[in-house]
């Protein structure tokens, strides 16, 4: 624990530790918070994100469910109606497909269907993302699909501090939040995390690197790569801004417009396959908001239009520093 300028203290934590601490803190703060999911209680989660909650808060508030993603999601609707604040885990985002009718059709629509009678104060956590050689459906980036399901907020932190601040906000939020945790970030991302209450409002993007030649717009683990690219191009005299969206719904349209207006050139990076990925939405938003300030077409860096591949092809599929660097250079050459 170290002191910061503004009088607070920080701890150096991995993203996983930040998530775990936040769950502890939120359960302690509000006894309506309950955690449910596969292996979240006795085992503390397959990645240990829920470690210690069962021991601390007991079997009523931390519940190992049967392997039934649909009813995990569906039960949160009932729990919310009964006045609780469910924080459910889907063990891997790819298995949210099993729960899609509950997530898209019910969780996302509870407030709308009942015209505000019920508050879906529901958080669904799920790990996802590439680079750690998991079996199929463990790594898939499905955020764009969820973004097209109106009624869900989709939060995708890129740093340990944000994981804390955004998860706390998500749990306290009266709207349903899908909180997506990058597998590579669990232990691969660490940094100073403010101690005590730390809240970051949903829908406010973060400038991860300042710069004005070109902006890389991205979210989740890809922010880490984008920053590395920005830093390395900096030595070549290129000024690369990195905009971390933090949440794709709500989308900080204003921050995107500002960044693109100032830089004139943009690269959007995502891990999902290209067609219908969320990068397309960012491009469309740029087109609408600041077309006239574009000095070159926006370049997308995405996965390819195939299912997330097996381990030996993973590094070809997932955008890496080389592909991002090439895209940045290309953007600067265009126009």
């Amino acid at each position: 624990m170290t002191d910061t300028l503004d009088g607070g203290t920080v701890s150096d934590l991995t993203m996983l530790q930040a998530i775990n601490e936040t769950l502890h803190a939120e359960m302690a703060r509000d006894d309506r918070v309950v955690v449910l999911g596969e292996d979240v209680a006795r085992n503390g989660g397959v990645f240990r994100a829920t470690e210690g909650l069962f021991e601390k808060f007991g079997e009523h508030r931390v519940v190992d469910t049967p392997i039934s993603e649909a009813v995990i999601a569906g039960a949160t609707v009932g729990l919310a109606i009964a006045g609780l604040v469910p924080v459910a885990e889907i063990q891997f985002l790819g298995f949210s497909y099993q729960a899609m009718h509950q997530l898209a059709g019910q969780v996302a629509r509870l407030r709308y269907r009942t015209q505000g009678r019920y508050e879906p104060a529901i958080t669904i956590r799920a790990p996802f993302g590439g680079g750690v050689r998991t079996p199929e459906l463990h790594s898939d980036s499905l955020e764009a699909q969820f973004a097209n399901m109106a009624g869900l907020k989709i939060v995708m932190p890129a740093t340990a501090a944000d994981a804390k601040g955004l998860l706390a906000s998500s749990i306290r939020e009266p709207d349903p939040v899908l909180f997506l945790e990058p597998l590579r970030g669990y232990r691969g991302i660490r940094g100073d995390v403010p101690n005590g209450d730390h809240l970051i409002p949903l829908g406010v993007a973060r400038t991860a690197r300042e710069g004005d030649d070109v902006v890389i717009i991205t979210w989740s683990y890809q922010v880490e790569l984008a920053c590395r690219v920005a830093d390395s191009l900096h030595s070549e005299g290129l000024s690369v801004r990195v905009l971390d969206l933090r949440s794709i719904v709500p989308l900080d349209i204003q921050a995107i417009a500002e960044a693109v207006t100032q830089c004139g050139r943009a690269v959007v990076v995502e891990e999902s396959c290209e067609t219908g990925g969320f990068a397309a939405e960012v491009v469309a938003t740029i087109n609408e908001e600041c077309f006239w300030s574009l000095e070159a077409p926006v370049v997308r860096v995405s996965g390819y239009d195939v299912p997330y591949p097996v381990g030996m092809l993973e590094d070809v599929y997932v955008p890496d520093e080389a592909r991002i660097t090439t895209a940045v250079r290309r953007t600067l050459e265009l126009g």
Partner: protein, 334 residues
């Protein structure tokens, strides 16, 4: 065995007659193009009304599928008011006001069963008394949600009563193509919970079964699956033509066991019911639905209500869309 008193039976019959009458009126309104698709209640009255008369409206939740609302008036006149708004396609139809413990219609089959399990589970977590009663059809029992929810309810011992309304049809699909199980109650074995089959045309039997299941649940003994066997006497909905697939002789036989007639007969024998009561109740039913319909029709609605209640507050995008929507309306108005 808990048998409803004669007075209760009479209240049940009143609600049944009202449901039947209003359902008929709604059918006609649909035929006149005044409301959207209607799913008639005919044949379901004893099951829905008797089941909910066994509940404590202050504490127990009702989680319906889509055929129930007209038969839930025990939970308050707001149910009918909302249902008329819903039938008109007005968004306020989904807002059954606090403190009424009835969820709005569910169209996505089976999805309401996990909700009911969640509600009842939540009540135990908050140490609140009460149960959740969830209605679903024979057809809906084929959805994974039914099984996943039943299985979870068994494990966590949720105070939920799962009421499978076996009306022998799921649109055109008869029960023998829906499952090879001997009965829907048999499916309880998959969850390790009790399963019972009752004659859903017998209000007393339904009342008793729900009452017992409810008491078990309140005593911490967990969920019960009840199968109420009835027959769908009308069309699936106003969009359906059952003459294409329902064998006339089956329908004929089922009509002879009409639950409304059956209970009316019984109460007539006890001198608790007569033609006058029947007519007065029907008239009351029509009066209620007509004034609810009028009220619904005059409930205001602004176009940008479209964007309300998606999120607790508008996102940047929704704010932009609201602006565009209002602008578009202004352009059109000019």
């Amino acid at each position: 065995m808990t048998i409803p008193s004669d007075a209760q039976l009479r209240e049940i019959l009143v609600d049944m007659v009202i449901a039947r009458t209003q359902s008929g009126r709604l059918w006609n309104l649909q035929r006149q193009g005044q409301v959207g698709t209607v799913a008639p209640v005919d044949g379901h009255e004893a099951t829905i009304v008797a089941a909910t008369h066994a509940l404590d409206t202050e504490h127990d939740w009702v989680v319906p599928q889509y055929r129930e609302p007209l038969a839930l008036r025990r939970y308050g006149p707001e149910i009918l008011e909302c249902f008329m708004l819903y039938s008109l396609g007005h968004p306020a139809g989904g807002h059954i006001p606090d403190p009424i413990r009835v969820l709005p219609n569910q169209i996505s089959l089976g999805t309401q069963i996990p909700h009911a399990v969640g509600i009842s589970w939540g009540m135990t977590l908050r140490s609140e008394p009460g149960i959740a009663l969830v209605f679903f059809g024979d057809g809906s029992s084929s959805e994974g949600d039914f099984y996943e929810a039943g299985n979870l309810a068994g494990v966590i011992n949720a105070p939920v009563v799962m009421l499978c309304v076996n009306n022998r049809w799921a649109i055109s699909t008869p029960v023998h193509l829906q499952t090879a199980a001997e009965s829907f109650a048999d499916k309880a074995a998959a969850f390790g919970i009790p399963g019972v089959t009752v004659d859903g045309n017998d209000a007393t039997a339904v009342y008793d079964a729900v009452d017992e299941a409810r008491k078990r649940a309140l005593a911490g003994l967990g969920p019960t699956l009840i199968e109420a066997v009835i027959y769908r006497l009308g069309a699936h909905t106003t969009a359906d033509d059952p003459s294409r697939y329902v064998p006339p002789e089956d329908l004929e036989a089922a009509r002879r066991d009409d639950p409304v007639l059956r209970l009316a007969c019984h109460l007539r024998e006890l001198d608790l019911w007569d033609d006058v009561a029947q007519e007065e109740t029907e008239a009351e039913a029509l009066g209620l639905i007509d004034s609810a319909f009028d009220a619904a029709k005059s409930t205001p609605l602004t176009p940008d209500a479209l964007l309300d209640n998606c999120f607790s507050t508008d996102t940047q995008r929704l704010a932009r869309q609201r602006f565009q929507l209002l602008q578009a309306r202004m352009t059109e108005a000019n």
